[in-house]
Amino acid sequence: MRHGMLRIATVLGLVGLATMWNPTPAGAADEVRIGVVSPMTGPTAKFGQAQKNALTMAADDVNAAGGIKSLGGAKIRLVFGDTRGEADTGVTETERLITREKVHALIGAFQSGVGFPSSAMAERHQVPWLTFGTFDKITERGFKYVFRAHANDTIKARTLIEGLVALGKRASPPIGSAVILAENTEWGKSVSDKQRGFLEKAGVKVHFVENYPYAAPDLTSLIVKAKGVKPDLVVADSYLGDALLITRQMYEQELRPVAYAAGGGGHVQPDFLKNMAKLSDGILAATMWDAAVGKAVPWIAKENERHVAKFGAPFTEDSAGYYQGFQIIVDALERAKTTSAKELRDAIAATNITDVNHKAMLLPYKALRFDETGQNPNATAMVVQIQGGKFRLLYPESIAEPDARVVWPYLATTR
């Protein structure tokens, strides 16, 4: 029996040692490590891949131009963590990146439900975290190390509704009533609540808000219910699968609202346009980024073209957001002249970018600053409309494509 015991003990010991061996150096002295927390596998892996692409391009650019100059040309190394779209995995990965890979800052985590606890982990370890995630509360916890440069759910919802109202003024018939169909996830619930608030404030009667089960095989009853109240506006907050289903079933059941808008999510995916073709025409959506901003700001258009050339696809809303987060960190590093967490954090907090040609302004705002909660108060969103299989930027006017007109009502061409 001692033989057996010894054998087992040896095997376990070797296994233990093997896993403890860390082939990656604990951290070369002259590099800057930025952790990327994304869903690299799982159902939302596509998004993670897009984020990886955008960041890789950005990091390569910085390194090719000589790295972080104020740190003696230190090169940037991206370290990727895979959340699988799950909260607890996200937390573990964040921790791995911080304690094992010794990253100096993090960007993450795409799904708000994952980013929420993961950023809390960064706060615990006092490592700066640039959020990509729209859940308001991410920056409402009194944290010092969590920042968000882009719009949150409230801003996105407000922009969508204000945009709809503004665009509706120039078209007819007007919008007097609405229904909101949102997936029953934390994002869907949170976004639909905000949308309802803003709609009611704008004097639009919201007949009902339904949070339907995510990935349900059939949503006909939902559409029939909506049809029954004859809404002028249908707002959908869905991921891609449900977006496809809802759009098709609206057509079949002859639910033809004056306007069909999306809070984001599935409706603004390239796959949606590809699969829906004619039915997607006229759908309005709130987004934080669209390639059309490049029309007014040339460097953005060029950067997007480079991205397309490299990866075969343009930036997406989220990959642009990650890119922006990256650039803010780079900018802060240059100013901080150190990678020490506290100073870096202070440098980020002191960010003040107003130059529209700064790389961090891929999502262009009046200014890029952070208030005491870590949110950029100048963050905005925009409203796009799908026309002929492409997105046209329509609102706000200041960045709208000059030659684009809103197409109204929805499915005008097929009536």
Partner: protein
């Protein structure tokens, strides 16, 4: 005792790990986090194992209980300021109540149905929670998830900065659940559960109360699972119904014990030790390139284990460590002395011990038994004979309560048996053997008999002694430590007898004991039956072998197509033309 030393060593070793990692790797919270996940899943798997492995009821909805625990303690903490340490116990109790209340009626659903029902309940709970924004006026945010305040280091409130605090809490919980498992396994409950898992009906026929045993296991399992939920909530700080009550979580709680060794004490630990690191390694190695690889590995491992090593890792490990035991060479089976008092005081004035009165039962159109009446006096041996399909085993099933009668009554010791379950009837004093023997396959011969002796024994040790004596009486003393699956048919028959006898019955129903037994073993078996008879036990014997039954019985009852056609002393009955006609006629008709 050797095991105790080993266990202690492992615990101390585990407790020192955080210090070791800090010394070797520096401030490496990630490593501790992985170990915490390993222990967490080992804990949950061990808690699941109490009902899944020990009792054989595969719940695939345990995540619902996890969620109950997580939400209860979190709500109490955030809205009532109750420390999660207390909230944890409250959540455990609530889950125990819910688990028991749902489990109890569901236990009669066998196998896969039970699993499906647990999935249904867990899903209902999950969707319901997702839809609920506030409960009794307290916001729980439904699908948006419930956030716990991050307040730095507050051990009194179950919050720690850094991983060490959580590591030690989890280690403590793991030690507790494994100890609970170990205690249950060697307790009365453990034996009952093992028997129930192998053959619930046979266990009931021995006086074990399956529903009660399973309920207890379920309550324990639910309690501890919910505590795991509280730990999760305190560790992550954010709970959503979608994750904590998810089917995925439930499945993980099943896969690990299956891999590690269902129904063993340490199996869940092995399962977690293998599967959790696989998930971590695949993520670290292939982050971003190969999607879902760890799930492919999980699935493939699960299939492999089920197909090749259904007992899991644990028995394989034990095989490595255990010394080979030599089974002593079998001598001729000697019948030992009967462990005293089997004969009970006879009821007053020669009143029949068993009276069957107008008993009827049919199956669809076919008649099983029709208007059957006969009596058995205390100390008598009555044989029931008849052609195949005459209804003999049906009579047994009606007497023991395994089947309900359409009409007529069964009277035992002056008491009419109505709706009493088989296990209740066994406690009244009726025991039986089965025509096709039903030993508890996974238990040793000794343990088989122990299950029967336990309900009447004051302690497990006493039951063990009793069982040993009955085994010796049945001539199986030398095979006490052999797993039932390794016994020959003849030996299994003896085991069946020993088991039934260990329930100290007043009436013993023997169903075709000699059936399927080879010529060589027959005499020994008959001697055993005569030995039982000599002890004064009342016997009702179904036998095909006419020589055996005429030698053994005082009286014979002949059944044909469910009806009694003859009754009387053996010699008279066997030579009766009507009986011969039925027997021979039956053979001719079939031929």
């Amino acid at each position: 005792m050797r095991h105790a030393g080993l266990a202690l060593l492992s615990i101390v070793g585990a407790a020192l790990v955080p210090f070791a990692t800090r010394a070797l790797i520096g401030d490496d919270d990630y490593w501790l986090q992985v170990l915490i996940w390993v222990m967490f899943f080992a804990y949950l798997s061990a808690a699941w194992n109490l009902i899944g492995g020990f009792a054989g009821q595969y719940s695939i909805g345990h995540a619902g209980l996890l969620g109950i625990g997580a939400y209860t303690s979190s709500l109490l903490y955030v809205h009532a300021g109750v420390s999660p340490w207390l909230g944890m116990l409250a959540g455990g109790c609530l889950a125990a109540v819910v688990g028991g209340a749902i489990g109890y009626p569901c236990f009669r659903l066998r196998g896969a149905f039970f699993s499906l029902v647990t999935i249904a309940f867990a899903e209902m709970l999950r969707v319901g929670t997702e839809l609920t924004d506030s409960l009794f006026g307290l916001p729980i945010n439904g699908v948006r998830g419930f956030l716990l305040p991050v307040a730095g280091s507050r051990p009194a409130d179950f919050q720690f900065v850094g991983k060490r605090g959580y590591y030690y809490v989890m280690l403590g919980l793991l030690v507790i659940i494994l100890t609970v498992g170990w205690l249950v396994k060697r307790s009365r409950l453990g034996y009952y559960l093992a028997a129930i898992r192998d053959d619930e009906d046979a266990a009931a026929a021995l006086g074990v109360r399956p529903a009660r045993a399973k309920l207890l296991a379920m309550v324990l399992s639910s309690f501890f699972t919910a505590i795991g939920g509280t730990f999760y909530a305190q560790l992550i700080g954010f709970i959503t119904p979608t994750r904590t009550m998810s089917l995925d979580f439930s499945v993980q709680m099943v896969v690990m014990p299956v891999l590690g060794g269902i129904g063993t004490v340490l199996g869940p630990l092995w399962g977690a030790l293998v599967l959790v690191p696989i998930g971590e390694v695949t993520r670290a190695l292939w982050s971003g390139s190969l999607q879902g690889v760890h799930l492919i590995i999980y699935g493939a491992l699960l299939m492999l284990v089920i197909l090749k090593w259904p007992q899991g890792i644990d028995p394989w490990l034990r095989g490595l460590i255990a010394r080979r035991r030599e089974t002593p060479v079998a001598a001729q089976p000697i019948l030992g002395d009967a462990p005293l008092v089997t004969a009970h005081a006879s009821p007053d004035g020669g009143e029949a011990l068993l009276r069957v009165d107008g008993l009827s039962r049919s199956f669809g159109g076919a008649v099983g038994v029709r208007e059957l009446s006969f009596e058995v006096a205390p100390g008598e041996v009555v044989g029931i004979i008849g052609a195949n399909g005459a209804g003999k085993t049906t009579v047994f099933n009606l007497i023991t309560g395994a089947l309900a009668a359409d009409g007529g009554d069964v009277w035992f010791a002056g008491r009419r048996l109505g709706r009493e379950s088989p296990d209740a009837r066994n406690r009244l004093g009726i025991a039986r053997t089965f025509q096709i023997v039903r030993p508890f396959i996974g238990l040793t011969a000794l343990e088989n008999v122990m299950v029967a002796a336990l309900p009447r024994a004051a302690s497990v040790a006493e039951a063990r002694r009793e069982a040993g004596r009955w085994l010796a009486f049945a001539g199986l003393g030398h095979r006490a430590g052999v797993i039932a699956s390794g016994l020959s048919t003849g030996e299994r028959k003896r085991l069946e007898l020993a088991r039934a006898l260990a329930t100290r019955p007043r009436l013993l129903l023997l169903d075709e004991v000699t059936g399927g037994v080879d010529q060589r073993s027959l005499p020994g078996l008959v001697r055993l039956m005569q030995g039982i008879r000599a002890e004064g036990l009342t016997l009702l014997v179904i036998e095909h072998n006419l020589r055996v039954v005429t030698a053994l019985a005082d009286r014979l009852v002949v059944l044909h197509l469910g009806e009694k056609i003859r009754e009387g002393p053996p010699q008279a009955v066997v030579t009766d033309p009507a009986v011969v006609d039925v027997y021979v006629g039956a053979t001719v008709a079939r031929g």
